[in-house]
Each structure stands twice: as C-alpha cells, then as structure tokens.
Subunit: 572 residues, 2 copies
C-alpha cells in the first residue's frame, strides 16, 4: 500500500509546509465565551491554523523548515473506533519522514493494539500522573485520540500543562464512531463512515429479509450514544420503514406512549396495504430523549450519587417517577439502575429500548385487535442491537484516508509548537487532494451546558452535537420518510468495498451539507480586506457613505444574532 495514500497535495511527504494563522477564535455560543476564557486563560482565543504547501512566492507566512528531533506520545482514550490505528500510521510516517531519529511512543489504553483501560484523563490525580509521565519521557507532544469526552480532557490537559510550564504540547484528534464531535471546525469523525456502512449493510439485509419473510417487524437498536447521527445516516443509506430520532422526540417532547402510538399507527397503515413486515430503527440514545424517562434516570442517578443502594432506589423515587418505573418490564428496570457512564449518561448500550418498544407495541396492537379497531394479522417483532459487530470493523477507505491525514496534521501542529489544538480536515466531501488541513483550538469548540436563566454555569466542555433539525441531511430524510414508511423502497448499499465501484462513497450526511466553514471564514476575511482596500483615505464621499451604511447594518444584525438570548432563530 502506498503510504502517501490519500494525503492532500499540501502535506504529501517531503514537501515543506507553511502555517498560516487566522484570527483569534471565539466560541459558537457567544454567551459562554467569558466562562470558557476564564477557565482556559492560557489556551483560549488562540488563532486558527491552516497548513499549506510552502511555495516560493509566499514569504510572510511561517514556513516550517527546521525539523529537530521530537518525542511524541500517543494514547487512545475511551471507546474504540474503526480507523484509530490509521491516525497513528499517519503520525508515525510524518514524524519519521521529517526526522528519522524522532520517536513515537504508544500508551496503553483504548483499541486492540494498545488495549483499553480507563475512559478518561480528568481527575487531578490522572492529570498529575500524565504530566509526570510526559516529563519523565521528555515528550514534546502528546496526541490524544478520541471523542467528545477525550478531547475535553485533552483541552484541560493542555491548559494545565501550559499553566505549570510543562513543555509537552497536547493535540486532540476527532475519532469517534458516534459522529457527535461536530462543530464549525470538525465536519466528521473518524470511524463514523465505517460504522454507518457496516450497520447499513446489515440493516439492508434485514430489510430484504423482512420483505422475503413477510411476517416480522424487526426492531433494530443502533449503538450511537446520546445523538442519532448513526441512525440518520443509516436511514439515508438503507431506507428502513421507520426511524425514531431522539432529537425529534426531544423537540416534540413525545412520551413513551406517544412513540408507541406512532409505531402502532404505522403498523396499522401498513396492514391496510396488506404489509405485515417492516424495519424500525431506534438509536440507543432515544431512551434518554424521552422526557419522562430522562427525568426518571436523573432521579435514579441522583440517588446513586447519594449512595443509595440499588435495592432501595425504587422506594425513594418521587411518586410519578415511581409510577413510571413500576410500569416498565423488570428487565428494563434493572438496566435503568446500572451506574451511569463517565459522561453522566445512562449505560445506553445496556438498555434494551428496542425490546421495550416492541413489547409496548405488541400490547397496544393486541388491545386494538380486541377493540376491533385493528383487523390485520398478529404483530410479530424480532429485536436486534447492532453495536459491537460494527465497532471492530476494518475501516472504510474514507476513514483510512481521513485518519491518515489527521495523523500527519498532528505532526505539523507539534512542529509549529501549538498547544491545546485539534487536528482538522475540512472540505471532506471533495476528493482528498482538495481537502484543507488545519488546526483549531479545542476551547473554541466548547460550550457550557447548564444555565440559570441566560447565565451559563457548569464546566466548559465539548458536548455531543445533536442532529441539526434544520440541516439538509435531516430535511432530505424528512422528505422521504413517508415513502420509506409505506413503499418499502429498501436500498441495499452492500458490503463496504475497498476497490471498484462503491469504494469511494462518503456518508450522505457529509455530502449533502454545506460545509467548508474554514473556507467560508477565509472568504469573509477576503471581503473585509476588499472593503478596506476600496475604502482607503481619499475614496469618494459616496463610497464611504455606502460602506458605512452597509457595515452598520451588517454589524447590527450580527450583534443581535450573537446576543445571549439568541438561540438560532432571528427574533421577530
């Protein structure tokens, strides 16, 4: 295999790279910025960095031409994700190409090459141990490969290292199969494409089977954590009959009975077309998106934090929470009582929401049959949980390329002496030779989650991005949803291909969105420069007047949009 595979021209081995810095960064949630800047005094507000091929013409930018020996540590943090190893491959090649005496050290933790240990580097003890190890090993850089939680930890480590004058620079890499580390700077995560393709393959097989057997409803739960990105992408790839997105449930505040009713109505509508089979996709995070179940889980976790033992929890719940708890089947009750994960969410992979829903739907259909409102055949469900069978998959070509390039970028971030940055590749929906390589301060991706009124409290961190219900991918899904439901237009993308047709496909959710945020930031800078160059002292009164009036209006709109109360909708 060509080790230079998929690397954009800018970074191909041996070329000299220049770093171009953008403006200092802020955060998407303007109102949290002061909280974040106070928490990260050494690493907040750093500029964006773009890595470009150095050309003779450009002289003002920072060209990295010296490549002293460097010592870099790399660690997988949290759950495994396909493609993680390819980051290491890219990083190793970049390091060795620029200086063969440089060293890459792997720390045990995460993924099969290095094994999996703890899910976090967060407590004072963990941070101090990490610092001590970095000093003892004389590391110039520490690369942390992981998702939302791991990269939050990376930012915290970077700040702590800067504060204590530890010279190790910390770099994060967005690798998580859930696809929920998404923001202005990060279009996609390594692993997501593979997970969606493996899951779509088997969901599609299940769809074909449903259509052949004509007697089962398959309820398929997908490993995806809180957000439903995996479910949305798989829906666009496979066209199953029904997908219950957690984000829709949250927005509409649907109760578990509302959801059951919706599924039953779908079963009934299909029965009227003489169809007694179907495929229903359920993201594992759905259970937490149901308001009353979420409230119940919060009560349970609160009691657990107070040290209440498992046997005593149910008796100490509030009356309404207790009523819901007692209504649930015993197996689900037991699963809800499991201790929460390191990010405080429930153990989503262990809660069999698909069985709960299949059970409730069956009961409701039997009730409708008794009442005579449903006259079709008996409802039969078969339940599946798809998670472990995708997580260990060989990475797709896209994930290999993306991960390899991110590994390269990590080296250049360290060579440029940057700390607290995440490696980024944008313009991903274009062919790899048009990808843009860069780095963004992790603090610029942070938000503060808990609010009192409009005042943010709580610790700044990266938070899982949920599906943008105004985004193009979701809109595309919505347009097709009723056809998916009734027409059985199942689509089988087949197994992931490494060569030939299909090898170069990319996630739908990546390809339909307008991305290239970094490119658009650059475009804005060009406009501003252009205005400056036109409106120079000596320009006509008319030009100055037009510029002032236009800019006044632009700044006013933007000020309103960035005010604390603004939540994405223009106030009317």
């Amino acid at each position: 295999m060509n080790s230079d595979y998929g690397v954009p021209r800018e970074l191909s081995e041996g070329t000299t790279v220049r770093v171009e810095f953008g403006d200092g960064t802020t955060t998407a949630d303007y109102s949290s910025s002061h909280v974040i800047s106070r928490a990260f005094p050494h690493t907040y507000g750093q500029p964006l960095a773009h890595f470009l091929r150095a050309t003779a013409k450009v002289t003002d930018a920072h060209i990295i031409s010296e490549h002293p020996v460097i010592r870099v540590g790399v660690v997988f943090s949290g759950r495994q994700s396909p493609g993680g190893h390819n980051v290491i491959w890219g990083l190793h090649n970049a390091i060795k190409t620029h200086n063969p005496t440089s060293v890459l050290l792997g720390f045990v933790g995460g993924f099969d090459l290095l094994g999996r240990t703890v899910d976090q580097i967060r407590t004072t003890e963990q941070v101090n141990a990490t610092r001590a190890a970095c000093i003892a090993l004389k590391l110039d850089g520490l690369v942390i490969i992981g998702g939302v939680t791991s990269n939050s930890d990376a930012a915290q480590l970077a700040e702590s290292f800067a504060e204590t004058k530890c010279s190790t620079k910390v770099v994060g890499v967005p690798v998580t199969l859930y696809g929920d580390l998404k923001n202005q700077f990060v279009e996609m995560n390594v692993g997501f494409d593979t997970i969606c393709r493996v899951n779509s393959q088997i969901i599609s097989n299940i769809c074909t089977d449903a259509l052949s057997a004509e007697k089962y409803y398959y309820f398929v739960r997908l490993m995806s954590r809180k957000a439903s990105h995996v479910a949305l992408e798989c829906a666009l790839q496979s066209h199953p009959n029904l997908v219950i997105l957690g984000e829709e449930v949250s927005l509409s505040k649907l109760t578990i009975f509302d959801i059951t009713k919706q599924i039953c109505d779908a079963v009934q509508a299909r029965a009227e077309q003489d169809k007694y089979h179907g495929v229903v996709i359920i993201p594992e995070g759905l259970i937490e998106s149901i308001p009353e179940v979420y409230a119940l889980l919060q009560e349970i976790h609160g009691l657990q934090r107070q040290g209440v033992s498992v046997e005593n929890i149910s008796s100490q719940l509030s009356p309404w929470a207790s009523a819901l708890f007692e209504f649930l089947p015993p197996s689900i009750r037991k699963q809800l009582l499991l201790l929460p994960e390191s990010d405080d969410s429930a153990q989503l992979s262990q809660i069999e929401t698909e069985k709960l829903l299949a059970h409730l739907v069956e009961a409701e259909m039997n009730k409708r049959t008794k009442e005579g409102t449903y006259k079709g055949k008996k409802f039969n469900a078969i339940c599946h949980f798809f998670g472990y069978q995708a997580r260990g998959a060989l990475p797709s070509k896209f994930d290999c390329d993306y991960a390899y390039v991110l590994g390269h970028i990590c080296y250049h971030i360290l060579a440029a002496g940057l700390n607290g940055y995440m490696a980024t590749v944008t313009n991903l929906k274009q062919p790899a030779n048009k990808w843009r390589c860069g780095a963004a301060p992790i603090t610029a991706m942070m938000t503060v989650k808990q609010y009192i009124g409009a005042t943010p409290i709580g610790k700044p961190a990266l938070h899982p991005a949920t599906i943008d219900l105004k985004g193009k991918a979701y809109q595309l899904f919505r347009e097709k949803a009723s056809s998916f439901l009734l027409d059985d237009i199942y689509r089988n993308p087949g197994p992931m291909q490494f060569e030939g047709p299909g090898a170069d496909v990319k996630p739908f959710t990546l390809c339909v969105e307008d991305q290239d945020y970094m490119g658009r930031i650059k475009k804005l800078q060009e406009y501003l420069e252009k205005v400056k160059s036109i409106v120079k002292p000596g320009c006509s009164q008319e030009v100055l007047k037009a510029a002032l009036s236009s800019m006044a209006s632009v700044t006013e709109v933007l000020s309103v949009m960035s005010a604390p109360s603004f939540n994405g909708q223009i106030p009317l």
Copy 2:
C-alpha cells in the same frame, strides 16, 4: 454486467451442448437402496448426466441441437437464501438464448422477488394442486429452488408426475444457506458462501471488539439448522476462541453440563493468561445435538402431536425429562414448547441457546469463585444471534456465478427431457472455466433415516448432511483449535468484496476437501474400460490370471464395505 459471467466454457451461450450419460445410479447407503427404489419406481436408478460442449469429433453422444419452444415454471420453496435470484437469471438467459419464444413463469413463494408462502409441497392436496397448475399452464418443466426439504419434495413430485403421466419434468436446484445439502454429487449450496462471509465479517469485528474492550465474552449463535457447517466455515475464516460443534457434541454424547464445564475450563485457562475476553460460537442446531435436550424435545413434540396443550405438556413429561425441563430458565422453556418446523425439528432460530449457555457458565464461574477454585475477574457475557442479518445479503461473486450456472444447467436438463434430477456443478474449487456441469437423480442422494436394527424404515428423503468429522476441513479446524482458544489469533476477512483482492475467495470447507466425485467416477470408468481393453480374448494366461486375482480382491473389499452393517469404518 456481462450476462455470460462465470459460465464454464461448456455452456457458454450459443454453444451446442451434448449430454453424456453415465451409469445408472445407486445410493450412498447401499442398504436403503431397495426401500428407495420401491418408493420411486419411475425415477430411481436413472443415470448421471454430464453436459459438455459438443465437438465435431464426438458423434456417439446425445447432442441437443433442437430447441423447440418450452414453458418452464420456477418456484422458491422454503427459506430465502442469497443467490436464489441468480438461478432464475441464468435459467431465463439460457431459455431465451436457445429459443426467444420460450416462456419462464415465476410462482409466488420464497424470497423477496416472489414473496414467501409455505415451506413445502408435500401433502396430497399440495401435490395435486401443483400438478393441476402445471397442466393448466402447459409447463414442460418445473424448477424448484431450495434446500434439503424442498428437493425431497421435488423428487416426490417428479415421481408422482411420472406415475400419472403428467408431462411436466421436475428439476431441483441446491440453494440453501445452511450448506447441508451435501453429498457425492453436490459439493456446495448456493447461499452458503455469502452467509459465511457476512457472518465471518461480523464475528471478526466482534473478535476485534473483544480484544479492544478486554472485558466481555461474546456468545454468538449462528443460524444454521441442525448441522454446524456455517459455524465450522466461520471458525476457519475468523478464528474465534471457541466453537461448540453440534456434531462433536453428538458423537461424544456431551450433556449440557459437560458443555458448560468445557466453556468454564476455557474461561479459566484464559484467565490464567490474564485474558478476560473471548468469542464463543454456537450453531443454532447445538441444542438438538445435546442428547438429553433432544430426548426432551422428542417428548414435547410427541405430546404436541397427541394434541396436548402447551400448559399441560410439562406435567405429562417423563420424570427425568420433567426434571431437566424445570431446571431450564423460563424463557428457554417457553422456546422449547414452540411447535416444530415442517421438517420436525425444533424452531431452532427461536431457542436462545447462547443465553442458556452464558447463564450456566456465569453461574458455574460464580460457584468456582466462591469455592476459591477460580480467582480471576468476574465473567461477563454479551449474547448475539446472527441469522437474519446475513440471510438477506447481496450474494457473493462465487454464489452469483454458481447460481447462474445452475440456472443454465436446469435448462439443459429440461431440453434433454430428464425428470427428477438435480442440477449439479462439480470441481467448484477450480476457476469457473474448469467447472463440470451435470445432473444427478435426486433419488440417488436419498437415505432412509429410521432403522430397526439394520432394517431401514421411514420415508426416503434427502437428509441434512452433518460435518464429516473425518474430513479435511474438520481436521484443519481441530489442529488449530487450541491455538484459537488461547492465542487470540483472530483473523478478519473484512467485508465481502466484489472487485479487487478477496473478490475471488471461496469457502475454506470447499477448498480443503478432495472433491470432484463425478470426475473420480469418470476416472473409475476409464480404469474399467482399460482393464476390458487389455484383457480381451487372446490375451496371455498371465495377464488373465493377474486380472482375475486383482479384480477378485477389489470386489471382495467393496462388497464388505457396501454391506448393511458397514458404517464408514473397515471392520477389523
């Protein structure tokens, strides 16, 4: 796609085909042959047929040069299997190439193109309805695509049609994902390769996940019916830690406690190497291979045939069966009480043997921990059933080719006017242009299952072939089993490829066996001809003496080996 794809030279479109007939056929179990010949007076003992490209030199063979219009019906019988549609494609192309006015009609039943209805064509009512339909539609041929049960039905139909002078010829095609329609004439079934490759892909992903997470034992049950062919092939492809083959359990008469103990000993041996993860493969037929469970199931099915209701069965079991029944967890009890399938086996896909074993192993490990004989970490199991997600897969390249060729052969069988034959392709482990195309009477593949002493009783039928524990594939597995168990030499064949490296792989179990039975039959005929041509009247006394003595010895050995009591071992 090239419609001539994968067709051996002999049958490529437009070439004239000649049929070469071999000797009349017998059955592998010599002692049943008279029972079968009595049951199938019109279709037993027909000769093998070989289809070859007609060359100018050969004149004595039957060359099919006339291609009148024919009307053919095709039906999928029983469960769906990847590649079934490709048989129709091959059949349709062959029919239309030889006479564009010929007609192919599809009957509803099985698979998604035609939908699934009943699993059999067996009762007098079904046979008569089929005959009436064939006559009404003026069918020259009826092609039945399916597994062991469907092809037994095909043979019965053929005999019944011949007896009643119905002119429709019946042809069977070996398409079953279980890979259990295996005999002297049939090396492999359409669908098996795909199923094993899809299952191996996800088993391998599970193995990688186990090795990454280092904390779970995955218990994976595979859809495979009575035999363990799928499990054996997947084991050779993925190298999981442990595979419990039903055939081994049957042979060694292992009880459910023996199996539990074996798994626990494996867990303990791995814990001593500080390994607390693993992957255990369980064929769905295992449950019927455990002697005491099989006996229990027989009792339950017997009571069901007597019309005893589900609630009353447990009270009418014999004392020992009742004791076992009560010992089992309630969910398993419920599953054992399901009505048997059309082939009298239990509803294997519904019995969660993997959960039963995981439950028993956990209990035993806890017991060992309490007793102090096990000092390792707590045993954690996650259970999976892989079936539906493979059954609807796109067929592999091998299955496409194989199915397409079988479809072609069906046409030539009908053009040659043969009835009660199965289409066969041998030499499958060689590239497609070396495949040998033929047809064998289905009756020659039959056995009679129930014996009183050495006397066969019961109805002749095709029976699922079990794993040959003296075969090379099993031997290969056995040699590696202890390394699989302890060394975690997991192998990930990756997703099925349609182009590039890996696209042309074939099942291990196909490639390691010495096959080409038909080729060897031909070789034997050549030897016999050679002897005849040497020992002609006029040959020397010495030659005649040597021939007589040698042939006497050969016939004696073969007579002993074919005697009723002979069960595959030379009597000492």
